[in-house]
Each structure stands twice: as C-alpha cells, then as structure tokens.
C-alpha cells in the first residue's frame, strides 16, 4: 500500500497513455513535411489549408450553429428546470431521475431512439433535428450544474426582494438570475463544449444531405482516406476551443459571483 515509487510509476503510465497521443497530434499539426514519420520543421501551412477547404468551413459553421443554438436552448430550459425542482422539492424527486437519465443512457441508444422518433413522426431531418437531439442531453448537464449552485442558494434573498416591493418576475430578473449567473454561464459553456465534439447522436439525426454535416462528421468522412495533417490541425483547433470553454466554465463556477 505504501509503495510510493510504484504508485508514481502507475500514475506516470496512465498520464502518458492519456496525453502522449494528444501531444503527438498537436505537434504533427505544426509539422511542415506532413508525414507522421519525420519532423521537418515548424509550419502553420496546414491551418492555412483548412481555410481553403470549403467542406471543412461549411462543417465548422454548422457545428457552431448547432452548438450555440442547442446550448442556448438547453441553458434556458435547464435553468428553469433546476429552479422548478428545487422549489417544488417533494414532487421533484422522481422528475430529477427522469431528467438526469440522458446523462447516463449510452449515446448510441439515445441516437437510435431519436432517429426512430424523428422517422416515426416523419420529421424532415437536418440541423434542426441535431439541435433538438443535443438539447435533450445538454439540458441534463445544465440542470445538474445549476442545481449544484442552488444547494447553497440563500432563499431568504427572494423573500427580501418581495418584502421590498418586487413582483415575482422582477425578483427573478434582478435577484435570482444574477446570483445564479456564474452557474448558468458555466452550464452554457459545458453544453457548448459537449455539443461541439458530439458525433454519434449528430450522425444519426443529421439526415441524408451533406448540408447538415458537422465538424466531427466531416473529420470522420475525411479520416477514411487516412489521417492527413489537415485533420491534425482541425483536431488541435477543436481541442483548444473545448479546453478554453471548460476551463472558463470551471473558473466561473468556483469563483462565485463575477466582480468580487
């Protein structure tokens, strides 16, 4: 149990396994030669090549639409849901389990279920169905983040607001939402990140047309012809975006109220 060198070795191996592939990917995206076998010098030319690839630009644009819209919708619904569960605690217990289910259900199951559902209702598929599908699981994550914040929420400030003459709407607008805003923004950023790199559900609910291809789907299509340096560059950009959004989300949720 107290074999420290062994513990550190295991830790090192685990971290190496996790991060060496990512480091290699990032390094190769800057490799001038473009071959994974030899480093021929630093270059940004693969990033430049991305700009000239219309398919990639189109997919990136689609991904942003899906991520921003689904994150926005999930944030509004998830926040309202979290407040609803918290204020109606007794009736909220079973509701809570139902809401958090999409976090646990395997993506592939959710993907097939949503595909069957959309087919059954004969909904024409495209970006809007991906957005709807992403709202389903993002809702659960936003709700979980806001709920965590509500656990330490001092409800007497809501009563104080009413006592000082504010209506329920004014109290939500000026007191509840601003106090919860770090958690709400954190939830939105988390939802955005999850949506950006989500593949399976988007793949199943995108429909047949090429018009609704998202970035992960585009990468998957390209990778069938081998890993190109362009893909490395694209993956590095997606990685950068996700890490930034997640770091921001964590910082906000820990740091409490902005400006303090």
């Amino acid at each position: 149990m107290h074999n420290r060198p062994l513990m550190f070795t295991i830790l090192g191996v685990v971290f190496a396994f996790l991060y060496i592939p990512i480091s290699v990917l990032v390094a190769l995206s800057f490799n001038d030669g473009g071959l994974p076998t030899a480093w021929t010098g630093f270059s940004l030319k693969w990033y430049g090549a991305l700009w000239e690839n219309a398919d990639i630009l189109n997919a990136a644009f689609n991904t942003l639409i899906v991520a921003i819209t689904s994150a926005a919708l999930a944030t509004i619904l998830g926040t309202l849901l979290a407040i609803g569960i918290e204020t109606r605690a007794r009736k909220g217990r079973w509701l809570e389990s139902l809401i958090f289910a999409p976090m646990i259900i395997p993506d592939i199951v959710l993907a097939i279920a949503l595909l069957s559902f959309f087919s059954l209702l004969k909904v024409p598929m495209g970006l809007h169905t991906i957005i709807a599908a992403h709202v389903v699981f993002n809702l659960a994550f936003v709700c979980a983040v806001v709920r965590a914040r509500l656990k330490s929420f001092d409800w007497s400030i809501v009563e104080a607001s009413a006592d000082l003459g504010a209506s329920a709407t004014t109290t939500y607008r000026r007191i509840v939402i601003p106090v919860l805003s770090p958690a709400i923004i954190a939830g939105a950023l988390l939802a955005f990140t999850l949506s950006v790199d989500e593949f399976i559900i988007a793949f199943f609910t995108a429909g047949a047309g090429a018009g609704s291809t998202t970035l992960p789907m585009q990468i998957y299509a390209m990778i069938r012809f081998g890993v190109t340096p362009e893909i490395n560059a694209l993956a590095t950009l997606v990685l950068g975006l996700s890490v930034t959004a997640l770091a921001l989300a964590q910082r906000l949720n820990r740091g409490g109220i902005p400006g303090q």
Partner: protein, 347 residues
C-alpha cells in the same frame, strides 16, 4: 385612537401543528414592541404573518384599520429585517438600499438623495460601494436595517436583529436601535429570545409560549409583576421555593415559613428576585452554605444551597461590600428578604 396594528384572534396551523393559536394584541403608533419567546413559541410565525409570508389560518391583521391578512408581502407597507440579513450578494451596499425605492418607481434623484441620507444615519457612507461579503457582521446588520428603513414603512419588523452579533456589539446596537427608532419615528416590532434585549429596548413586551400570548406590558411591569410561574422564570432570574400556600404565605417542603401576600391556596411556589435578597436576618430569613461565587465585576452572584429549595438560591450583591469579600465556598450564610418582595404562584 385606534391602534396602528391590531392582531385579532390570529391562528396558524401547519398541518396538525398549531404554531400560533388564537392570539390577539395591539401595537400603537411609534411603539417599540418586543415579541419574546423561546424557540417554538410561535414568535417567528407571527412575524412572518405580519410580513405577509404566511397567511393566517384564522383571524385578522388590521393595519390602520384595514385588513391586510391576505395582502402579498410586496403590497404591504411593512418591511422585515431578516435574521440572516438577506443582503443581495451581487449588489453594492448602495444598490441594496436603493432596491426597495426602485420598486416604488421613484425618480432617480429622489432615490439617490434618500439612499445618501440613510447611509449617513447608519454611518456607512464610506462603504457604499462595497459588496456585502466585504463587510463585517455589524456593518451587514446596519445595511439590512437601512434597506428596510429607507422604504419608510408603517411598521418595521425585525427578526432576531442582533442574534448574529457578538456580545459587546449587541449591547451597543440595542441602544443604537432604540435611538434610531426614536429618530425615524417608525413602529418597530422585534422578535427575540433574549429577555435582556427585550427589557432594554422595548416600550412594551409580549411573552409568547406555545403559540399563545402569556403576558404583555411595559418591561418594568412584566419584570416586577409576572402573572405566572412561567413568566416569572422567563424574564430575568428568579428563585423559587416550592410548598403549600395559604392566605399568609407559603410553607416550604422543609417546614420553613415564607411570609407573603397570597391569594393562592394549595400547591404553589414562592418567588423572589436575586437583587431583593440581603445578607443577615429580616422578615423571611434562611440559612445555607455557599456553593459558588460568580464575580461579574460590579456584581457578585452568590449561590447558596438551602433545605427550602432544590436549587441553590441566587443572591445578587455589590462586589465591594466588606462582608462579601470574606465569603468563600462552603461558608455558612444567613440571608433574608421582605414579604412585599415575595410573589406566590400556583405550582
């Protein structure tokens, strides 16, 4: 003249639990009124009904003669200072205080003038742009008070206003609250479990027990003439001697005769305040042994075990009296008090 606030036969039940039961009391204009009770006495429920956060199950609350029992909190000319202060954490001191005036849609210059004015009164002008978590407990308490006062309510309700402060600050704030109440001319109703606080601050006190009004009156009356054993025990310190009462006093369980004016017959207790007892013989004389001496600076509390009472008798003496200085643990001591300072309550 009709009282400002009339509480008439008010009850509040939570399920099968009766928090307040058929309670009536009146509060006059400009009065400093204290609702005193232990936890579970219903005092907080009563306060929440006055603020509008609870609706009475039965009875009425009349303010200026109008029934406000079912008026929502944001429509009542009544403000509550919360025990937890409930300051808005994302707003500055100034914004916290201005909030209630903004809800009245007053013109901006008028809001600014009134906020600046009250900041001066509570002496927090230099802290106006701070957030609540950058303030000390005492400063938060003053902001909470200012936020409620700036609305110029007909009645200001205060829920354990000094509960979160340390002892020294509490003493200073008791006088400060009383001074402020005179200055602004607003009726204060304060809920407290601290009987000393109620005695110091209030013009009138209501003692609540199990959701019912036990006794109400000015502090001196409540202190000097408690109506029953519970009220006597709750306010201040009281020594009790159990026994059997007749028209001339009480026969204690050990056979000691205590002389007092009495209207009670049968099982009863004789009660006397610690400050009414002197050393030496007198009308009612007892002897015992010193079990403890508690030095309080100016005062000294002497605990004397006698055969007449199960608990040691507490005697409050001035600490620099020569006969007190020679006393120590285990010494025999004789003490006495007059018949007129003795009260007899049914047991």
């Amino acid at each position: 003249m009709t009282p400002l606030l009339q509480i008439r036969h008010i009850s509040k039940a939570f399920g099968t639990i009766l928090a307040v039961g058929d309670l009536s009391l009146d509060v006059a204009e400009n009065e400093f009124y204290a609702l005193l009770g232990a936890s579970g006495s219903g005092k907080t429920t009563l306060l929440r009904m006055l603020a509008g956060f609870e609706t009475p199950t039965n009875g009425q609350i009349l303010l200026d003669g109008k029934d406000i029992s079912t008026t929502p909190p944001n429509k009542r000319p009544v403000n509550l200072m919360f025990q937890s202060y409930a300051l808005f954490p994302h707003m500055t001191v100034r914004a916290n205080i201005a909030y209630g005036l903004e809800m009245e849609h007053l013109p901006r210059p008028q809001i600014t003038a009134r906020v600046d004015d009250i900041l001066g009164v509570i002496e927090l002008t230099p802290y106006a742009d701070r957030k609540p978590d950058q303030l000390s407990g005492g400063q938060k308490q003053r902001v909470a008070l200012a936020r409620a006062l700036v609305k110029r309510p007909r009645v200001l309700l205060l829920d354990e206003p000094l509960g979160a402060l340390d002892k020294k600050l509490r003493g200073a704030m008791q006088l400060e609250l009383k001074r402020l109440q005179h200055e602004v001319g607003i009726t204060f109703i304060v809920v407290t479990h601290d009987q000393e606080e109620a005695l110091v601050m209030a013009d009138r006190i209501a003692i609540l027990k199990d959701g019912k009004l036990l006794q109400s009156g000015p502090p001196r009356e409540v202190y000097e003439h408690p109506i029953n054993r519970f009220a006597a025990d709750f306010i201040g310190v009281m020594n009790f001697f159990p026994g059997v009462a007749d028209s001339t006093g009480l026969l204690a369980t050990d056979g000691t005769r205590i002389t007092a004016a009495s209207t009670t017959h049968g099982p009863a207790v004789a009660a006397v305040r610690p400050e009414r007892i002197r050393l030496g013989s007198g009308e009612n004389t007892l002897t015992g042994t010193v079990t403890a001496l508690a030095y309080h600076g100016l005062d000294l509390h002497l605990y004397v075990q006698t055969t007449a009472a199960p608990k040691p008798v507490i005697i409050r003496l001035t600490a620099d009296m020569s006969e007190v200085q020679s006393l120590s643990h285990g010494d025999p001591v004789t003490f006495s008090w007059s018949a007129k300072d003795t009260r007899i309550f049914p047991a």
